[in-house]
Subunit: 353 residues, 2 copies
């Protein structure tokens, strides 16, 4: 079963893949029922279709939403429960899964190398992660040529997602020497190549380096998780269907500005990775520079968004903080280098409206 | 079965471990039949003992030779063939193996994260690698406190082995973006911390960083292999029982000096990793500086050895080059950034006598 992003399918890519399978006598069919912030019911539908057609392999071709949908279908194909049921901690995943091949067409989620599929339930206005090692794809084909046609705003928003994975994992208290090596390389590449990829979408060198940065970001969060920006962004997506990359970009700078006092050393290292030339400044100044350097990147890629752009208003702040405290993403707050009170979280969202 | 370095065992560590097992009612016994440049017959003996005693788990505690011996025993415990037979390409490894736990006490081979066990056959004066994914240990416990008691010369020679893994994988034509990220970090750490670890053996920070550098080096060669210095060093070990680290140190500088003309760019990157301050020099100068920077490291750790120190003489050069061309280590020459003729190999060995 070829799980393919509907707009890529419309561009003719889906038929091209299906025909190439036909030429080698491989029977296949397309599944295009996919939405941004992937919806649990789409996955249930996909599982049903895959079962009916006795699929042997699931192939996901598209951005993070498509890959997450395809991964969840592959893992749940031998199960009776729904996707949403499997987001509960006490429900175990089936031991048998279908082989899964991921072909990312954006440079953002790094989902091709993570054990998660983050899904939404519009009925419950909730967003949760499926989490199991069998969600690691068996094979990932990462071809930057498939990313050439990405529109500017998708390049920017998915690029900020990748960048933020590496940045957040770097300052997470789960960070390990290994995750930091990987994250540093990814941060360095994103700062260097994301502006070029946005400015000149057909710059294959920039596309390649961003594809690589995104994959490293996926490896980094697999080891060290994300922190507050991803948690806040997920709240915005869960309740207001805000796009993933945009909702992170909306709060990243503000969160960093408030956080460096929690760990001068790690933020100083972060600044040195964002811009080597900062290494000559004193510790406090380096640590403080992080938010400025992130602002510079967002400005380089002309990507300035606010929570307000997604329809979030002053009166929604309470429901966002409530959701955060109830959700599993609250754990991201616990590994953030500065521990925020509810009042502070309230204030951050307000300032980012 | 506890496979432990005989000198560590004599220091009392073996009994300490066996007693701690006893306290939790785990039956265990020691195997200390281990030699530097591990000997295939020791492994056969170990397999026999493990079979007789119906061992469930193999634990290796020691340097590279001990870990390689323990890994090979674990993989061959369910096999009828000898270790040496399994170095032949057409012989397959048994599917069933024993779980294996590696506890390295030196920072050098990185064997705790590689799929190889390099063994010698003194009867045939030959050295070959066992190579299979099941040679990856199941668990590696890397505790730098175990490395505090390493004598100066072991610290130096094992450190140069680790350093050389990363350096050689970095310039190998098998290098990947991933292996290069890992290798760069390892090179940087070795240059920074190996002199401190040699100068002050009880500097735990230096020991920790070298343990980490060594593990990264193992990861790097698993992806990108080694090149000419390891091949030459292995010839010296195979024919003259030269110590592994020393035989590499004996030729490293000379090989680099002759090799940079094969790939200015990669050697310039290598210099930038060995010493950031070289980044301001022009390409040719940077590339050329590598051998000088390696000489500086060898001088910092007071480790200057020559092939002659291992009893190798002018009249032995032909047998070394002959051995290289016949052995599987010849493949290391093919991925080296400069392709050497037989005459050039002859000359390198001569200059390093």
């Amino acid at each position: 079963m070829l799980v393919i992003d509907p707009s890529l399918d419309q561009s003719g890519l889906g038929e091209e893949i299906v025909s190439s399978f036909k030429r080698t006598s491989i029977e296949s069919f397309k599944f295009t029922n996919i939405h941004p912030n992937p919806i649990c019911f789409d996955i249930d539908k996909g599982v049903q279709v895959a079962k009916q057609n006795q699929c042997d392999v699931i192939i996901g071709v598209g951005g993070g939403s498509t890959i997450d949908t395809a991964k969840a279908i592959a893992v749940l194909c031998k199960s009776d429960g729904t996707a949403w049921e499997h987001t509960q901690e006490n429900i175990s995943f089936p031991k048998e899964t279908l082989p899964m091949l991921a072909v990312p067409t954006t440079a953002g989620t790094g989902s091709e190398v993570t054990p998660w599929s983050v899904i939404s339930n519009p009925d419950e206005k909730d967003k949760r992660a499926l989490s199991t090692c069998s969600l690691f794809p068996d094979v990932a084909l990462i071809d930057p040529e498939l990313m050439i046609s990405m529109p500017k705003w998708v390049t920017a928003s998915s690029g900020i997602d990748a960048f933020s994975h590496s940045l957040e994992s770097f300052i997470s208290s789960y960070a390990t020497p290994y995750s930091k090596v990987v994250a540093k390389e990814s941060i360095r590449l994103a700062v260097r190549y994301l502006p070029e990829a946005v400015a000149n979408g057909n710059n294959l060198e920039a596309r390649s380096q961003m594809a690589w940065a995104s994959m490293l970001g996926g490896m980094a969060i697999t080891h060290a998780r994300t922190v507050v920006p991803h948690a806040l962004g997920t709240a915005a997506s869960a309740l207001f269907d805000a796009p993933h990359g945009g909702s992170i970009a909306a709060c990243l700078e503000n969160v960093l500005e408030r956080s460096f006092v929690g760990n001068f050393e790690i933020f100083a290292q972060l600044s040195g990775t964002l811009d080597e030339s900062t290494k000559c400044f004193p510790l406090h100044e380096r640590a403080q520079k992080c938010s400025h350097l992130v602002r510079r990147l967002l400005s380089d890629i002309d990507y300035r968004v606010r929570f307000g752009d997604f329809g979030i208003k002053e009166e929604d702040i309470d429901s966002m903080t409530d959701w955060l405290f109830r959700s599993s993403f609250w754990s991201d707050f616990k590994v953030h280098p500065r521990l925020f009170t509810v009042e502070e979280v309230h204030q951050i969202i307000q300032e980012c409206l």
